[in-house]
């Protein structure tokens, strides 16, 4: 079952931008968009740098996405899949708001490519 960790008050996350968080030593990128929260791995698979939380968010077609700040590949905010290279993806974490606090949990299983 999910093991929720409280991260911060919702208001601490900037609208339509990301922030990094530490979850038992793992780095998670948290995004707050108009329709909710998303939590993905903070590691950009193309550069290996922990920077996904600093990407620009928006949409590609109907998919909400975040663009890696290093080489600009887009990743689906909901599935983690890279929209420019479907063989690559980011891990997706469970995220919810509980009593005004953003909570994150490790994924039940790793994203399959």
């Amino acid at each position: 079952m999910n093991d929720w960790t409280s991260i911060c008050p919702t208001g601490r996350l900037p609208v339509e931008r990301g922030m990094a968080a530490l979850l038992d030593g793992e780095q998670v990128a948290l995004f707050r968009t108009a329709d909710g929260l998303h939590a993905l791995s903070n590691r950009d698979p193309f550069s290996g740098a922990m920077v996904m939380s600093r990407g620009i968010i928006g949409c590609r077609g109907r998919r909400p996405m975040v663009a890696s700040p290093i080489y600009k590949q887009a990743f689906d905010l909901e599935t983690g899949r890279c929209l420019d290279d479907p063989t690559v993806g980011l891990e997706v974490y469970a995220v919810r708001v509980d009593a005004g606090m953003v909570q994150v949990a490790r994924p039940a299983r790793a994203l399959s490519a």
Partner: protein, 852 residues
């Protein structure tokens, strides 16, 4: 089969084109070696563009020879070694250096020489011709210290020469034997209109003037005419026509034409076996052709014949357009109405200085030719229409008269038949251009130029090529789309206009009114930049924070490992020892890698997000400010020490560089902007490789625009000469603002200017003569920028809310990113490579510097 040898005599425009064709068409591949003898010390250059040398184009830029072209073992270029004799029996040529080369085929491409009328006193000190780079160098040297000059000959070339003298600050008179200027090209009335335009430029004109003697006076020369006052000048340039250079051919016993020129048949073959002549030295189809296009066509014929083809040369188009002096003059087709039954339709507006004549068939249904003076904008479309099977509009006046809706006159590219010759210089038809787009995958003018050669010589057809590309792409449904991205149909320039005119101040208004979806990493930073260009508010406040690109988002440059670099401004590269010490101290305290950049300042690498405010606090306290290395905005203004220290400097280049850097700092623009200021022509600041280059002269400053290093290096073009600081700054203000207003996203100034219709002349008209009435707007925008600039880092440090952004982890602020690891190298840090980091990569809040 053993290899055969083609010897080419003369490495001018046509000679070189022939060698290019030998390679392109497969002659070399088919077993031919090519030996080229050149009389000039430099490889072929663009003689048509020769005059631009006076406006700053260098000899290298004029060169027609691509780098490495002659590296091929099959090609042998022998510079400065003219052929002195030909033995058509032994089939050899002998050169001045004493080489004797046997040939299997010989092509004479010796061009022509300037004609100097045989009047007493026509040679000697102060008398020049206008044909080669060396001639121009001599004229420029003689113009130093001279005040007045005369050009003998009022034809196309004479007017070019007059413009050159004018640009050398000589008070200039054109002396023409005929009763009007450009007698070969324009008619009486056109000549009148042209005369007024030339005189308006401050060039004096004497028509019907037969020079009889040139006398040497104590100071200068005196031209004495058959009648009228003599004319005293310091130097004289002859431009009284050309004579085909056929001396070599005569010596070899080849037939020459009565009026000069190597006589050739329609295969361009001369009167001895396997000898050909092309270009201005040849008399082909009954005459010598004084233009480059017929020469190129002849070169095609010779190469085709050597390959066994059946091409012929039977004549060419003599259309011309004057490309100088800011005066439009063009004549094309049967401009003198010599076709039987031809009608002439004349439209003249003496007040506006415009005169147009169309020559049409007796039923007024087809165009035969025409003359345009004062406004030749219709020339590119009308020229190919002349003689083409296209029925004219009921009122042919539509072809030349300005239209009420402001569109350019004329029928447009769509009206041309596919066979119409669009580029006469390189003989490229409309059909070939359309095919290049449809099947060759060309998507813009540059692609078509590269693929077909159209537009690469005199450039007069480029506008038409552009129209054709656009038309073709839109029928393909590809539409040369200028849409920014899937969220906006507008281009960056259009978006800028919308924001400016509607006074839009926020992203949401812009997206709601003109876009769709949620935006992306293309439109968001573009919108952020536009909003910032028009309003210097703090770039990360409110909604704007979510729009900023990687670097602007943290006011620092993101590196490959997720750390940042910090670059404080060092205006003009001038730095006090105190600031150097601060920089050193800060770098040492934070363990940053330190490097001098290519932009004359100091970059400190390896800063983590949460360290940025701490680092900047120290820098700002010490009086330093953001260098905007992260922004699409002004980067550096590189300077040299100039007059203050350097023994050659003629102006204070350092002070100017600092002033410019402080004036334009922080201005958000479509791409980064760089400038340079050199204290003299030695150019130690490499100003001409910058977007804006300033070079000091004895009298002030020369301004160059559109330089670029980077991916496609380009030297900046001379824009203004010898201006004072105020004029200089005002002009940079305007060009820079116009760039901000109208360039595409991520388009540097070089491609921006290259893509501009009308090029530099247009740009000059807009910012110097205010042809669009835009200057006030540009000035106001720049004044607003200068007045409201404020240092982003000082502003950040002053506000705790703004500082909140610079956190490593929202639930563990201050804990460094554990994945960052450095290794020591040459006494400083560098990012550890993956194999140096070890397996504990993603776990544990541990930051260590591995020591080695």
């Amino acid at each position: 089969m053993s290899r055969r040898t083609l010897v080419v005599v003369g490495h001018g425009m046509v000679g070189h084109r022939l060698v290019e064709l030998a390679v392109e068409r497969g002659l070399v591949a088919a077993g031919w070696d090519v030996v080229v003898h050149a009389a000039e010390p430099v490889p072929a250059y663009d003689r048509v563009g020769l005059s631009s040398w006076f406006r700053g184009t260098t000899a290298e830029e004029l060169s027609l020879v691509e780098d490495g072209f002659f590296d091929s073992p099959a090609l042998d270029l022998r510079l400065d070694d003219p052929v002195v004799s030909i033995d058509v029996e032994a089939r050899t040529v002998s050169s001045r250096c004493g080489t004797v080369t046997p040939y299997d085929a010989l092509v004479l491409a010796t061009g022509s020489t300037a004609f100097v009328p045989p009047i007493p006193g026509s040679t000697g000190r102060g008398r020049f011709v206008y044909r080669t780079l060396e001639d121009l160098e001599q004229i420029r040297a003689a113009a130093q210290g001279a005040r007045t000059g005369a050009v003998i000959g009022g034809g196309l070339l004479g007017l070019e020469a007059a413009d050159a003298l004018r640009s050398l600050d000589l008070s200039t008179t054109v002396v023409e034997f005929a009763p009007r200027l450009m007698p070969l090209q324009v008619d009486e009335a056109g000549g009148q209109a042209l005369l007024r335009l030339v005189e308006d430029l401050g060039v004096a004109v004497r028509t019907s003037a037969a020079t009889q003697v040139i006398e040497e006076r104590e100071s200068g020369l005196r031209l004495v005419f058959a009648d009228g006052e003599p004319l005293d000048v310091d130097l004289v340039v002859f431009s009284a026509g050309i004579r085909p250079d056929d001396a070599l051919a005569r010596g070899a016993g080849l037939h020459t034409a009565e009026r000069g020129g190597v006589l050739v048949d329609e295969t361009c073959a001369a009167s001895a076996p396997d000898v050909y002549a092309v270009g201005e030295c040849a008399s082909a189809a009954g005459r010598c052709w004084g233009l480059v296009a017929p020469g190129y066509a002849q070169a095609e014929v010779v190469v085709d014949r050597l390959l066994g083809g059946r091409r012929t040369f039977t004549g060419a188009d003599l259309s011309t357009k004057l490309k100088l002096m800011g005066i439009d003059v063009a004549s094309f087709g049967d401009s003198h109405a010599s076709t039987a039954g031809a009608l002439e339709l004349v439209y003249a507006n003496p007040v506006a200085g415009v005169y147009s004549k169309l020559v049409v068939t007796d039923d007024a249904r087809h165009l035969l030719g025409g003359i345009l003076v004062g406004d030749a904008s219709a020339y590119p479309v009308l020229r190919p229409l002349a003689g083409a099977d296209v029925v004219l509009p009921a009122d042919p006046a539509e072809l030349v008269l300005p239209r009420l809706d402001g569109a350019s006159p004329g029928p447009g590219a769509a009206a041309l038949p596919t066979t119409a010759q669009v580029c006469s210089c390189r003989d490229v038809s409309k059909g070939e251009i359309c095919t290049a787009v449809r099947e060759g995958g060309c998507r813009d003018v540059a692609g078509v130029k590269a693929c077909t050669g159209a537009g690469t010589v005199c450039g007069s057809c480029v506008g038409l090529v552009k129209d054709l590309v656009q038309d073709e792409l839109s029928t393909l449904g590809v539409a040369m789309s200028s849409a920014l991205c899937e969220h906006f149909d507008l281009s960056r320039a259009e978006l800028f206009e919308v924001v400016r005119v509607q006074g839009i101040r926020s992203w949401s208004t812009l997206l709601a009114g003109h876009g769709r979806g949620l935006g992306c990493d293309i439109c968001k930073p573009t919108a952020a930049s536009i909003l910032a260009s028009l309003d210097n508010a703090y770039v990360l406040d409110g909604e704007r924070g979510m729009l900023q690109d990687t670097n602007d988002h943290m006011l620092a440059n993101l590196q490959k490992d997720g750390t940042y670099s910090v670059v404080p401004r060092i205006p003009g590269g001038e730095v006090t020892p105190a600031h150097l010490i601060v920089l050193g101290q800060v770098a040492q305290d934070f363990g940053l890698y330190t490097k001098i950049t290519g932009g004359q300042r100091i970059d400190m690498f390896g800063a983590r997000v949460e360290q940025l405010p701490l680092i900047w606090k120290r820098l700002v306290d010490a009086g330093m400010e953001s260098g905007h290395a992260y922004g699409k905005s002004l980067r550096t203004v590189k300077s040299c020490v100039g007059q203050t220290w350097c023994r050659y400097g003629v102006q204070d280049s350092t002070t100017l560089a600092i002033e410019l850097e402080l004036r334009y700092r922080g201005l958000r623009s479509p791409h980064k902007v760089k400038m340079g200021v050199s204290g003299c022509a030695r150019e130690c600041a490499e100003a001409r490789s910058k977007d804006f280059g300033v070079i000091a002269t004895e009298n002030g400053w020369n301004l160059y625009v559109g330089g670029n290093g980077g991916f496609r290096p380009r030297h900046a073009d001379l824009f203004l000469q010898d201006v004072d600081t105020e004029t200089l700054v005002r002009t940079i203000d305007r060009v820079l603002m116009l760039y901000v207003f109208t360039a595409d996203r991520l388009q540097r100034t070089a491609p921006w200017i290259e893509a501009m219709e009308g090029g530099l002349d247009h740009l000059r008209a807009v910012v110097v003569d205010d042809s669009l009435g835009l200057c006030r707007e540009l000035d106001t925008a720049m004044e607003r920028h200068v007045a409201t600039y404020s240092d982003e880092w000082a502003d950040t440090l002053a506000d705790p809310q703004r500082l909140a952004r610079f956190t490593s982890f929202v639930n563990a602020p201050g804990v460094p990113d554990p994945s960052i690891a450095f290794v020591r190298e040459r006494g400083q840090i560098r990012p550890a490579r993956p194999e140096e980091k070890g397996p504990t990569l993603v776990s544990g809040p541990r930051l260590e510097v591995v020591r080695s």
